[in-house]
Subunit: 331 residues, 3 copies
Amino acid sequence: MKRFMDLADFTRDEVLGLLELAHRLEAHPEPRALLGKILGLVFFNPSLRTLASFQAAMARLGGSSFVISPGQGTWQLETRTGVVMDGAAAEHVREGIPVLASYCDALGIRAFAEGKELASDLAEIAFNGMAQLIDKPLINLESAVNHPCQALADWKTMDELKVPRAGRFVLSWAYHPRALPLAVPAAALHMAAMRGMEVIVLRPEGFALPGPIMQRARDAAACSGGSVSETTDRDTALRGAHVLYVKEWGATGSYGDAGEDARLRGALTNWCVRNDWFAASPDCHVMHCLPVRRNTAIADEVLDSARSVVRREAYNRLPAQMAVLHKLLSS
Amino acid sequence: MKRFMDLADFTRDEVLGLLELAHRLEAHPEPRALLGKILGLVFFNPSLRTLASFQAAMARLGGSSFVISPGQGTWQLETRTGVVMDGAAAEHVREGIPVLASYCDALGIRAFAEGKELASDLAEIAFNGMAQLIDKPLINLESAVNHPCQALADWKTMDELKVPRAGRFVLSWAYHPRALPLAVPAAALHMAAMRGMEVIVLRPEGFALPGPIMQRARDAAACSGGSVSETTDRDTALRGAHVLYVKEWGATGSYGDAGEDARLRGALTNWCVRNDWFAASPDCHVMHCLPVRRNTAIADEVLDSARSVVRREAYNRLPAQMAVLHKLLSS
Amino acid sequence: MKRFMDLADFTRDEVLGLLELAHRLEAHPEPRALLGKILGLVFFNPSLRTLASFQAAMARLGGSSFVISPGQGTWQLETRTGVVMDGAAAEHVREGIPVLASYCDALGIRAFAEGKELASDLAEIAFNGMAQLIDKPLINLESAVNHPCQALADWKTMDELKVPRAGRFVLSWAYHPRALPLAVPAAALHMAAMRGMEVIVLRPEGFALPGPIMQRARDAAACSGGSVSETTDRDTALRGAHVLYVKEWGATGSYGDAGEDARLRGALTNWCVRNDWFAASPDCHVMHCLPVRRNTAIADEVLDSARSVVRREAYNRLPAQMAVLHKLLSS
């Protein structure tokens, strides 16, 4: 394994192998597996779990890490090609990224969607542009439309909860004061489909996931024996659900149009998950990648109940990423 | 030992045991004592000594650490309960803190006083609210009205200087351009009382330490054979003093009222410690937790003289915290 | 070796010894050489390479490090002596720097030129003021007019490229939207002279390097058998050059005068290095310390060509600094 950029780069069996390794490393720690190895972490955007859990994962395996946050103690980095750099950015990723890669054994990069042009974000222009500059092991810490580390941790969480392989997985849109990227919904949708689940995307009008994202998930479902559908009807979606995976994202019909997005979401504040959502799915688990705004996307009564497994998902970032690092770096 | 939140949670003998351990670790380093252990450090407020010395302490014992500063490369964290989170904070401590704790073996948290309501700060609402969310070993890196790591380092410093157990310890208010929290004066006062000293709080009118803080110190003095009194008269206070512990803090009679605080302190710029303060206590040591504003709280002539032991106090944060970490984490 | 502050503090043979050690550590890693050692890194200014490569260098040698950036999560530090500290800075370097040094085995400090008074920057008032506060091993991470770590990495890079000892080294000014410090041009000039090269400084009128900087280089050349000259004529300078070392810096004739500097450089945007600069030096390597603004200081066509060795220079920071750390800290 040379890169961990997208769960879709791996077969279902390879993913199951990573999950098995994650469990093994929890049961039988290997505190010397990555002795002397260095992970470089580049964050173009804020982070809590990824920032802490990758440093902890390297330390648990005997390695170390350094963190670079362009624009915070470090030069702003230009990502566009061919520009005359007379603005705020003092350095180009064409220098910065290979240089950082040369100091470490593996590099992780977080680069959120620009949120202006859907086609450009779907094509992962910025992330792939950086990825092609280096040939060191590379980890996607969340790109425009992907978050494979979160997806792997979520899969592990559902296995631990004994959610049936063919269980009903509802990915629901939730309210947020402004548009958020598609990375997590896209990754969660694809992961659940790849796991073999009955996946239903529940979202209001104007927030349908883009065609290519839906198609990727349908392709994964076709291989795994799962299914993918979508609806605006909450009652239908949630009936008998094993998992409600909650996520906020921007209006896709008017991608990059902040005004239209605000107008649409302004009428949707009732998409805050409450206990009464689960009348027809009493044992349904609630998942969310975090951070989550309490009483905006999910109510206190849900987050503080036994059905919420959000902290477990977050914890699972650690063993899942330890498995990824072990595969990439142990000799 | 499961938590290090307050020196008052320990008996005098337990504190002496920690100090003995600190000395032992200086004389006989244990570079493998915490091999593989991880300390998470969460700073809601700025830090220099705590930030550097805790990372160094873990490294000296063979462990490692990660740092999270909410709002700086990481989401702002909401601490209030029950709020609708539609403002600047993207995540609640109810998720953030347990998640970070799940990545490490011990967590340290710094959360200064809000400085609005005295009762709420005295009750350590914010810090205790976070503390009850986790059951991992926890270290108070400075809360609203406590700073036990500083207190432990200060106690060690006085032992090294052979300040008598029953010596005269003057905690003096000093000028600062604006109100600072009560954490260090409260911790130093209690520590000196617990050590068994003759403690005198010297402060201008309007800056008396709150009743519950004075009472805690009196209780400690009652156990240790020390005493606690207060005065506005500098000459009386300093006569024969072994230690002058200098600290800036806000007007307590008008807590949270910035205007009244500014008016009061505006007339007190002469509370800047100078050589002539020591006419009747020629061998008096000057202590301060740092950071200190030169020629505002303490004059150059004092800080650059042999009577200043501020750097030694700061250095002692390292061995004192190594002892705390060793107690919390070594098996 | 107790300090690494300036290449001029060492004999040519001592520098060759460091370079040999750097090569040896690349060929024969010593992952336990600095076990338990701690490096403190203080950055008063932004950094990418220095920040990442020093952390990586310590990790490669088995040690660890912590990073302090005054003003970012840490108090602003005052550097002036004798001032009444009633402004933004909460702490003075007279406390802060010795305290940080007491937590580690070696300290690195970055403090750029103030850029106001040439004499003060040439005298390294700020950096030397901090250096004299501590007696721990100290590393210059870039001061007002020096950058010895960069110089050592550049020397190593030229050795690897088999640039002749007496080869022609052209240090050329390049355009940048605003004035940058003299640290890198001064260090590169002195390094090439010390290496024994035929050094030519190519710069527009108004941008001549200050007399003391030129003199230092001439002194080094006198010892090594090299030479130092300067010109405004690009064709003459570049004829037969082995290396073009590109760097942006401020107008020295009007040092600290931003208006005059802007007026002068406004007419010099054609000092952007392009392929046609190399008509009479086809095998000339292009060096730059990075960060570099593409199509402002150096064109894409040059940076993306085989003649650019900027990434190699940046990589060489790692082994060069490993040698420095090894010399300072291994027992």
